[in-house]
C-alpha cells in the first residue's frame, strides 16, 4: 500500500521526521531561556552595542570566531578570561545566537574581560591592522569600519527586540563610527557576570617577595604565560607595541608584580590578579627582569 500510495507515504514520512523533531527541538522550548536559565546580571544590548553586533554579523565574524566557552577546563582556561564557562542565561538576548562552528580565530564569548580598556585602544589597532599587534595573524583588516555609523534603524531595532533604551542611549550614537560600535559590542561580551578578578585586583598581597631567583627553572612556564597573556600588547619579544617595552624594565620586582596584579586602568593595562595566581605572576616578573635583554 505504502509503495503504491504517494499521499499516504508523504504523510507517514512527515510523521516519522516529526518524532525526533518534537522531542529534541520543540519540547526544549519549555525549559530553555525559562526562569531556570535567567541570570539577573545579564543585560540586553544598548543601541550602540546592538549596532556593533549587527556589524559583526554583516562582516561574518562568526565564520571564524565562536562564542561559547565550553565546560572543558582547557576552554575555561583559554577563553574564560577569569570568567567561567558559558551559561544559557548569557545568551537570552542574542537574536540570532552567534556561537559559530569554527575557531579559525579564538573564541570571543568573554573577550570583553580580556581587554577592559575603556578606550578600546587595542581593539581599534587590531581591527584596523591585525598583524600590527599579532604578527602571524591571518585575520583580514577592517580599517574600512572607520566610517560614520548609520543610525536610521537604531531605535526601531530596540523596539523590535524589546530592549530598554533611553534618549541618552540614542544621543550617544551621534558622531560614532562603525568601528566604535563593533568595539562597544566586543567590550560588552562576557562582562555582565561579575568575576573574581574585580575584587581580587584591588588588593595586592602584603609581602612582595619574588620566590624565584633562577630564570631557568621557570622560563618555560613564563614564556607560555607571556605569549598567552601579554604578547598581544607588549610584543612577542617584549619589545613593546601598544604597551611599553618590557625588555630590561627599570621597575623593581615588587612594582612589576603590583602592575600585573592590579593593572593600570587608565592606560588600558588589565589586572591579572583574578586570572593568574601569585606564583604565575612572579614567574612573569622573573622573565621580565632576568630574561634576555
Amino acid at each position: 500500500m505504502l509503495e503504491k500510495n504517494p499521499v499516504v507515504f508523504i504523510i507517514l514520512a512527515f510523521v516519522v521526521i516529526m518524532v525526533g523533531t518534537t522531542i529534541t527541538m520543540i519540547a526544549p522550548f519549555k525549559w530553555i531561556n525559562g526562569a531556570g536559565d535567567r541570570i539577573a546580571e545579564v543585560k540586553p544590548y544598548t543601541p550602540l552595542q546592538q549596532e556593533g553586533r549587527d556589524i559583526y554579523m554583516r562582516e561574518g565574524c562568526n565564520n571564524c570566531h565562536s562564542q561559547t566557552v565550553r565546560t572543558l577546563a582547557s576552554d575555561v582556561e583559554r577563553y574564560g578570561y577569569g570568567g567561567s564557562y558559558s551559561k544559557s542565561g548569557e545568551f537570552v538576548y542574542d537574536r540570532p545566537h552567534l556561537w559559530g562552528s569554527r575557531r579559525t580565530g579564538p573564541d570571543l564569548a568573554h573577550i570583553g574581560l580580556k581587554y577592559p580598556d575603556p578606550k578600546g585602544a587595542w581593539h581599534k589597532k587590531h581591527m584596523e591592522n591585525p598583524q600590527s599587534v599579532v604578527p602571524a595573524s591571518n585575520m583580514p583588516s577592517y580599517a574600512f569600519l572607520n566610517t560614520p555609523l548609520n543610525t536610521t534603524y537604531s531605535e526601531r531595532k530596540m523596539k523590535l527586540l524589546d530592549f530598554p533604551y533611553t534618549q541618552a542611549d540614542l544621543d550617544d550614537l551621534k558622531g560614532k563610527t562603525e568601528m566604535d560600535a563593533i568595539i562597544a559590542y566586543l567590550r560588552k561580551l562576557g562582562t555582565d557576570i561579575p568575576v573574581k578578578k574585580a575584587e581580587a585586583a584591588t588588593q595586592a598581597p602584603a609581602a612582595l617577595k619574588n620566590p624565584f631567583t633562577d630564570l631557568k627553572a621557570v622560563e618555560k612556564d613564563a614564556e607560555s604565560l607571556y605569549m598567552q597573556n601579554c604578547a598581544s600588547c607588549h610584543g612577542d619579544k617584549r619589545e613593546g607595541n601598544l604597551g611599553p617595552a618590557l625588555k630590561g624594565s627599570a621597575k623593581s620586582e615588587a612594582d612589576l608584580f603590583k602592575t600585573v596584579f592590579q593593572g593600570i586602568e587608565a592606560n588600558g593595562m588589565p589586572a591579572f590578579g583574578g586570572t593568574l595566581d601569585e606564583q604565575k605572576i612572579w614567574k612573569l616578573v622573573t622573565l621580565i627582569k632576568l630574561g634576555a635583554k
Partner: protein
C-alpha cells in the same frame, strides 16, 4: 524509441548546465578563501573578505551545485521511474529561472554583507522566500508526476526524493522564522540557546535531507542502470530508509556538545548518531552487494568507479560522523580543521562523485549518444579523487595537531601554547589544502569540457536525425 521521446528533458539540461556553473563558482571561491587563510592580503575589503566569502562558498556549493543538480536529475529520474512525462514543463522552466535569479542574488547580497549568519540559512528573508518558492514549485512538479504515474510500484529512489521534498520544506521554513526590520534585515524569533538548538536541528538535517537522501536516490537509480544489475535487496533498502529518516532528526545537538544546550539533548544526539551507522551502512552494503560478481566493472566502466567510490566515501563519512558525535572526541576536534576535512569528504567525495556519474549518464541518454571521451572522464575521476583526499587528509592532520596543542599544559597547569602558536603550526597545511583545491579544479575542468563536447555531439546528431 517512441517511449523516450515523450519525456521532457529541456529543464534537465538547463539545471545540469547551471548547477555546473554554480559548482564551479563554489570551487573557485573555495580556493580563494583557502588562499586567504594563508595570505590575508588577499582579502579585498569590504566585499571580498573571508567572512563574507565563506557563506558564498557554502551556499554556492550546497544550493547552487547540490540542490541545482538534484532538481535537474530528479526531473530526469522521476519521469523514467514513473514512465510519465513531467507534470508541467512550464513550471519547470519557471523553476529554473527563479533558481538562477535566487542563487545570483544570494551571491550578491552575501557579498554586500546581507546575512542572517545562521549556517546554510544565511539568506535574508526576501531571498529565503524565493528559495522556499523554488522548492515548492519543484516539489509540486515532482509529486504530481508521481501521482499521475503509469508505473504502479514506487522504486526506492522515489521514496528518498519524496522524503527530501517534505524534510527540506519543514527544516527551511522553521529555521528561517523571523521578524523583518526592513527589506534587508530581520531578526530570528528564537533567541540564544533556543536559536542554537533550532539551527543545528536544521544544520544536521540539511546534511540528511540535502547531502544524504538525494544522492542516495541517485545512487539507487543509477547504480543498477549503469551496471545492469538489479539492486541487491529492496527490503534492506526499505528498512534502511525508514530508520534513516527516523533517526536523523534526533542528532542535531552533536554540533553543540559541551555547550549550554541541556545535557539530555546532547546525550540523545550522541546515541542516535551512533545508531545511524546501521541504516547508513545498510545503503552502503546494498551498493556493494549489487556489485557481486561484477567487480571487474570497476576497471571497465568509468561510471561504476564514480558510484562505488562515492558510496565508499559515504560509508567512511557515516563512520567518522558518529565518532565526532561522541563527547570526548568532539572535545578534541570540534572547532578545528578536522571538521572541514569531514565536510569535504562528504561534499567532494560522496555527493559530487555521485552527481558526476549521474550527469554523465543522463546527458548521454538524453542525447542518445556516447560520452565524448572516456579517457578524459578517467582523468576527471583521478584528479578529483586525489584533490579530495589531499584536502581531507591534510585537514584531519591539522585538526589533530591543533587539537592536541590546544590541550597541552605545563606542569603548573597553565596552557602550554598560545592560540597563535597553534595557528602557526597548521599554516603549512592550509597551503597544501589550497593546492588540493587546484587539483580538484583541474578535474572539474576536464568534466566540464567533456560534458560540453558531449552536448555538442548530441545536439549535432539530433539535428541530423530531424
Amino acid at each position: 524509441m517512441n517511449v523516450k521521446t515523450q519525456y521532457y528533458d529541456d529543464s534537465v539540461k538547463g539545471f545540469i548546465t547551471w548547477s555546473i556553473i554554480w559548482g564551479t563558482v563554489a570551487v573557485l571561491v573555495g580556493i580563494l578563501i583557502s588562499l586567504q587563510l594563508s595570505w590575508p592580503q588577499l582579502n579585498v575589503a569590504p566585499y571580498l573578505t573571508y567572512g563574507r566569502l565563506r557563506p558564498i562558498h557554502t551556499n554556492a556549493g550546497i544550493f547552487g551545485w547540490g540542490i541545482g543538480s538534484f532538481i535537474g536529475l530528479f526531473f530526469y529520474i522521476t519521469q523514467r521511474l514513473t514512465k510519465t512525462p513531467l507534470w508541467s514543463p512550464g513550471l519547470a522552466r519557471v523553476t529554473l529561472w527563479l533558481f538562477n535569479i535566487g542563487i545570483a542574488s544570494a551571491a550578491v547580497t552575501l557579498a554586500m554583507g546581507i546575512n542572517r549568519t545562521k549556517e546554510y540559512a544565511e539568506l535574508e528573508w526576501p531571498l529565503a522566500v524565493v528559495v522556499a518558492i523554488i522548492w515548492v514549485l519543484f516539489s509540486v512538479n515532482v509529486f504530481m508526476t508521481i501521482l499521475k504515474r503509469k508505473e504502479e510500484q514506487m522504486y526506492i529512489s522515489l521514496w528518498y526524493i519524496m522524503a527530501a521534498l517534505v524534510g527540506v520544506t519543514v527544516l527551511y521554513v522553521v529555521n528561517n522564522l523571523g521578524v523583518p526590520l526592513h527589506l534587508f534585515k530581520s531578526y530570528p524569533i528564537f533567541a540564544g540557546t533556543n536559536d542554537a538548538n533550532v539551527q543545528w536541528w536544521y544544520g544536521h538535517n540539511a546534511v540528511a535531507m540535502v547531502l544524504t537522501a538525494p544522492p542516495l536516490a541517485l545512487f539507487y537509480y543509477f547504480l543498477p542502470k549503469v551496471t545492469g544489475n538489479p539492486i541487491y535487496s529492496h527490503r534492506m533498502g526499505i528498512i534502511a530508509f525508514w530508520s534513516l529518516i527516523f533517526m536523523y532528526l534526533w542528532t542535531g545537538a552533536h554540533h553543540l556538545l559541551w555547550t549550554p544546550i541541556p545535557d539530555w539533548i546532547q546525550t540523545l544526539a550522541m546515541a542516535f548518531s551512533i545508531m545511524l551507522i546501521a541504516p547508513s551502512w545498510g545503503a552502503v552494503m546494498n551498493g556493494y552487494l549489487t556489485m557481486n560478481g561484477q567487480w571487474e566493472q570497476m576497471k571497465s566502466n568509468y561510471l561504476v568507479k564514480f558510484l562505488i567510490c562515492g558510496i565508499t566515501f559515504y560509508g567512511l563519512q557515516t563512520l567518522q560522523g558518529p565518532m565526532q558525535a561522541i563527547r570526548t572526541f568532539s572535545a578534541f576536534i570540534h572547532y578545528t580543521d578536522w571538521v572541514p576535512g569531514h565536510v569535504h569528504m562528504g561534499t567532494l567525495g560522496w555527493v559530487s562523485m555521485v552527481i558526476f556519474a549521474a550527469m554523465y549518464y543522463a546527458v548521454t541518454k538524453i542525447f542518445e549518444t556516447e560520452i565524448y571521451s572516456v579517457k578524459l572522464a578517467n582523468i576527471h575521476f583521478w584528479l578529483i579523487l586525489i584533490g579530495q583526499l589531499i584536502y581531507s587528509i591534510t585537514m584531519w592532520i591539522a585538526g589533530v595537531q591543533q587539537g592536541s596543542m590546544l590541550l597541552a599544559t605545563n606542569p603548573d597547569g597553565t596552557l602550554h601554547y598560545s592560540f597563535m602558536e597553534t595557528m602557526i603550526a597548521i599554516f603549512p597545511y592550509y597551503k597544501i589544502r589550497a593546492i588540493s583545491g587546484f587539483i580538484y579544479l583541474g578535474g572539474l575542468v576536464a568534466f566540464i569540457f567533456n560534458i560540453y563536447k558531449t552536448f555538442q555531439k548530441g545536439a549535432a546528431s539530433q539535428a541530423a536525425k530531424a
